[in-house]
Amino acid sequence: MSAASVLDASWTRQRADRLERLARAGDLGGVDGKLVHADAVVALLEALLVPGDRVCLEGDNQKQADFLARALTQVAPERVHDLHMVQSVLSLPEHLDVFELGIASRLDFSFSGPQAARLAQLLGQGKLRIGAIHTYLELFGRYFVDLTPKVSLIAAQYADAQGNLYTGPNTEDTPAIVEATAFKSGIVVAQVDRIVDKLPRVDIPADWVDFVVQAPEPAFIEPLFTRDPAQISEIQVLMAMMAIKGIYAEYGVQSLNHGIGFDTAAIELLLPTYGERLGLKGRICRHWALNPHPALIPAIEAGWIESVHSFGSELGMEDYIRARPDVFFTGPDGSLRSNRAFCQAAGHYACDLFIGSTLQMDMQGNSSTATLGRIAGFGGAPNMGADARGRRHASAAWLKAGREARDGLPGVRGTPRGQKLVVQMVETFREHMQPAFVETLDAWKLAEQARLDLPPIMIYGDDVTHVLTEEGIANLLLCRDDEEREQAIRGVAGFTPAGQKRDRAMVDKLRARGVIRRPVDLGIDPRDATRNLLAARTMRDLVRASGGLYRPPRRFRNW
């Protein structure tokens, strides 16, 4: 059999289609090999795109292909329409403008926090159809199965003349997107801040990239993970003390992921003070799947932390990271290499604990950040906040959680195995006295309104192992039936209506069994929970702790 017959045209349609599109683009003015002039980008997109194409417009948690997003809103809808957008984050107005303008009509995504209200509105107006709301890993997975992009529009920091890319500290989703597109006869267009003679390092090789355009402005990056310690409350300090003493120390948690927020920032800032006093250094919190939170600086400087792998980066942390390559993953050039797909996998399979917050939790322990009129998506929380049922390596924390959950159970449910610690840390009332504990999640009504197959639950109740509020810790691993579980949650729900409906006698019994532990049961006096325990109380303290290497974005500089 000759090579020609193996490559029969009926088996190479995608490749031929790709070459046709590249030829159309190559004939345009302003396109010189791989290099495209900024003024020619709209024409380039019109030449490359065909109605119905699956398109990934790189919108990450932090880094945005904003110039290409703007260009996509400028293509002629009579030429380019009904695009199927497959992108992890909807962050910029342009990400929804393409639907309003009739350029795109279908959407598969993960997170839409900043655009959640408008997304719900457009869906209500019938301007788009949502395939599904995914986790990051799940969407990346589908890039390699049934949602492979035909054209991907991505962002990098620098390119060289051949089209090699340096993505810099905010690599984020780029490798996953490019791999799926380039190896399935798709087309990759990159916007870069600058074209340079020599790259600091190669993050994406040139033969996976078809076009490069230097954007008039650097790609937008959001400092999403910076929390000003000045805004951490005494109640958050109290809850952080309970997390450290009542969970981290109790299970000997070595590897972990923290959600974003002031609650978890308080834990990070208490390690070198309260944690040190409890003699926990070296016994907990050694390995992290976490973005480079500035709040982590004091613990790193005090020698608590051995390694941090990151989903993305954080503005202002670049020089600090460069100076701490023993802790962070850095390239030969010295700068951070982040990777959302690998860090999500690390958080899911290699971490003993996830701790995060939520807007609502029901009496089964299901939690959701979806509220009426807002379709916010999940991001990575469901993968971080779920037991990894494929995990097989043991650790002390994982084994202890598994024992607590299975002790005394018959049959297959009693088969010895470990379990991931999934902690939901919430004050009983959020701001404006909104109760965090509710009988029914808004997610149910939202599912009805948006005609979703399932209510958008972020973390399922049967994955949650501990609920931590200012009232105490409910250990759901020790609950043996639904009623115990419900009363354990009500027992830490404080003065919310759901909390006031508790069965006091049963809550007392659960407390006697150690299912519910109050601060006093943990040897914690709430009056000791003062801001003086924070290793840094201001942004300036963080800068000082970093030896001047951390440079906060201007909006966080209040001195």
């Binding site: 005494e234 009983t428 006295m433």
Partner: protein, 106 residues
Amino acid sequence: MAGMETLRFTFDGGRALGPFAPTLVGVVASGNLEVLVEPAAAPGCHVDIDTSARGFGGIWEAVLRDFHARHGVAGLTLSIHDMGATPAVVSLRLDQAMAAIAGATP
């Protein structure tokens, strides 16, 4: 003050505290409160609240009932100036006030 709500509660029972110096805890700031504790001749535990958050009388009553059950004190008046503190902050300030009184009483 415009928009403020005034609430008043009395809880019976408990042991009389005896003489103590009036004690002030907390600050009047968003999400916080100030509580002044003074001795009272009448038995029971009296609470006067000025709050910027209207419509939470039921929660105040539950928080204060818990406080009274926790400390079992009588012969005092609590004057609270609240700027939308959560129940957690209210309970913390009340406990701090009781600790300050205990610390100052021989």
